[in-house]
Subunit: 347 residues, 2 copies
Amino acid sequence: MPIYKDNSHGRWAYLRDLGEAGIIEALRSHSASKPRPHVIQGIDDDCAVLRVDPSKDLLVTTDTMVEETHFTAQTLPPEALGWKVLATNMSDIAAMGGTPKTAFLSLALKRDARTNFLDAFLEGFNDLAQQADMVLAGGDTVEAPFGHVITLTLIGECLRGGAVCRHGARPGDDVWVTGYLGNAAGGLFILTEGLSEESDIGETLITAHRRPTPRVDLGKSLAQSGLIHAMIDLSDGISTDLAHICRLSHVGATLDHSAIPISSDLRRLAKSTGQDPEPWALHGGEDYELLFTAPKSNRKEIECLCPPNAVGPLCRVGTIVTEPGLFLIRENKSTPLDPGGFSHFSK
Amino acid sequence: MPIYKDNSHGRWAYLRDLGEAGIIEALRSHSASKPRPHVIQGIDDDCAVLRVDPSKDLLVTTDTMVEETHFTAQTLPPEALGWKVLATNMSDIAAMGGTPKTAFLSLALKRDARTNFLDAFLEGFNDLAQQADMVLAGGDTVEAPFGHVITLTLIGECLRGGAVCRHGARPGDDVWVTGYLGNAAGGLFILTEGLSEESDIGETLITAHRRPTPRVDLGKSLAQSGLIHAMIDLSDGISTDLAHICRLSHVGATLDHSAIPISSDLRRLAKSTGQDPEPWALHGGEDYELLFTAPKSNRKEIECLCPPNAVGPLCRVGTIVTEPGLFLIRENKSTPLDPGGFSHFSK
C-alpha cells in the first residue's frame, strides 16, 4: 500500500509537500514493525540505544550511493535502490561472517522528488530488511539540492573473536568464489545501452545488478566452520578485491582463467552484442558474491557446507602464492592481472 | 603539516589526481594515531570489528551535511566543516549522557576539489577527535558530481541503562539550558550578510557557528548524577527542540522570555544591524548546547554540578506543565510559541 499518495490531486505529491517531519514519519512507520530486544531506544531520540550481547563482537560498515555516480533513474528504480543500498552493506557483514542487525539510514534527497520515489525506496529497503530480520533504528533526513545521496550504516554481530578478516590468506590456500561473476556488469550493460529488458537473459542479469542477494547465511557458516583463512565480498570485481586480500595478507595469487564462473546468460548476452564476457567477470564488480581462501585439505568439507543449489556454483578459481601480485593463468601461460574495477576519482 | 601538497607544480593538486586509494590512505593515516583496545579491526576490511564493554549500552547517531544546504565555502571553510560534522554528532551523544568513541566517515566529494580541501577537513576533524580521544574506524569514499555530501556515524557508550532520553520530562520540572542561545545564528548572519569578521563580536559568534563545542563532559555528569529527567541537544533551536521533549513526554512547557540567555555579543550585533536577537535565540539552532529537565528539588545540586565558568551560564528558562504546547511568558502574558527552527524540504 502506498502511504503518501496525494489523492486530492489524483497524482503523487512531492517531498517538499511531505516535509522533513513527514519523511521521518514514513521512516518511523517502516522501522516499527516489531519490537527488538537489542534496540532499547530507536528513532525519536538524539541517539539509538543498543544493548550488545557480551558473547559477540560488533561489525560496522557504511556505504554511500550517489545519483549519477552509482545510479540513475534508469539503472536503479527507487525500489531497487532501497534494496541495493541495504544489500551492499549486508554483503560487507556477510564477508566478515556476521549477522546484520541494525540499520541507520541517511537520506539526502531532492525536494522535487515525488513522494512515490520515497514510497518505492522504502518498499525495496523493507523487503530485504524483513527477509533478514533487521531493524531501522535511526538516521538523518536532509535536503540535497542537486541529486540524491544515500548513506547506510549497518551494524551487525559475530561471535567474539570470530570475524573473518581479509588479511589471513596463506600461500597454498585455494581461492573460492560463490555464484557467477560478471552478471551484475552484464545487467548494467543492458540498462546503460538501452537494450531490451524483456528477454529471459536480460531479467536474470538485470536482477543481478538491481537486487543482488548478499550471502549472509553462507558467510556465517563459513566463518563458524573454522575452515577458511580470509574472506571478502566481490563489490569491485575479483581483480580488485582479490588484490586487497593479497596486499593485506602479504601474498600473491594466481587465477585459473578456465575456472572463472561465467553464466550461460552472460555468455549469450556477450555473443549477441559482440562483447567479451571476461572483463565483466574479472573487473565488473557489484556481484556481491563471496571470495574466500582456505587450505586445500578443507576442500571436501567446504563443498559439503555450500550446497550448490543454495548459492549457485561454488568454484575454486585460483591459488594463493608467496610471490606478490595477481596473475591470470590461461593455457599454462601466466600474465599479470591488474586491478580493473571501478575506482572513484579516477581519470 | 599538509600531506598532499603537489610540490611539482608548486600548488595544490586535485582530488581526481589523488584518487580513491589516495584519499583512503589519507583517512587511514589520520585514523592510526594510536591503537584502541576496543577497535579489533579498523579501516582496511569489509567492516570494522568493535568489542563492547558488557557494562555499557551503545549509542549510535548519524548526521549528514550537504553543500549548499548546510554549508557553503564561505560559511564553513573545510577545517571548520571537519570539526563541525564531528561536533554535531558528539553533541547527540552528549545529549544521551554518553561518551563518543568511534567514528565512521562517508565522504562524497567533488573530483575537482583541491587536495588542500581534504587536508584542512581532516585537520579540523582530527583536532576535535584527538581532544575527545576518538578513533576513525571506517567509512566510504565516493565521487559526488555536484557538491560535497558528508555523513558521519558516531558510536558512543553510556552505562548500561543510563542513557537519558527525550521522553522523561514531568510536569513541574525546571527546564535548564547550558551556554548562550543564538550565538551560532548570529555568526551565520555575519557570514551570509558579508559583514566584517574582524571585530571581537564577530569572532565569538562566528566561532559559535563554525566550531561549536559539544557538552560531552557535562552531559555525562548530568546523566550519571541521576538528577535529571530528560535531555536533548539544541541543534534546531529551543522552540523546536523543547517541542520534541514535550511531544515525546506528553507534556507542555512554558518559557520565561527574560530568562533566555542571550550574550552581550549577540545583543551588540543585533543593535548595530537593526535586528531582533530573540528569533536567533529561540529559533536559530546550531548552538549545540544542552537542554534538560529536572525536578525543582534538585536545583542546588545541579548548580554545583555545572560550574558556570566551565560551560558559560547555566539557566533555568522555563517549566514543564501538564497542558500540551509550548508557551512564551513575557511580562506575565503567555503566548503560544511555534517551532521555528530550520526544517528541510519546507516551502
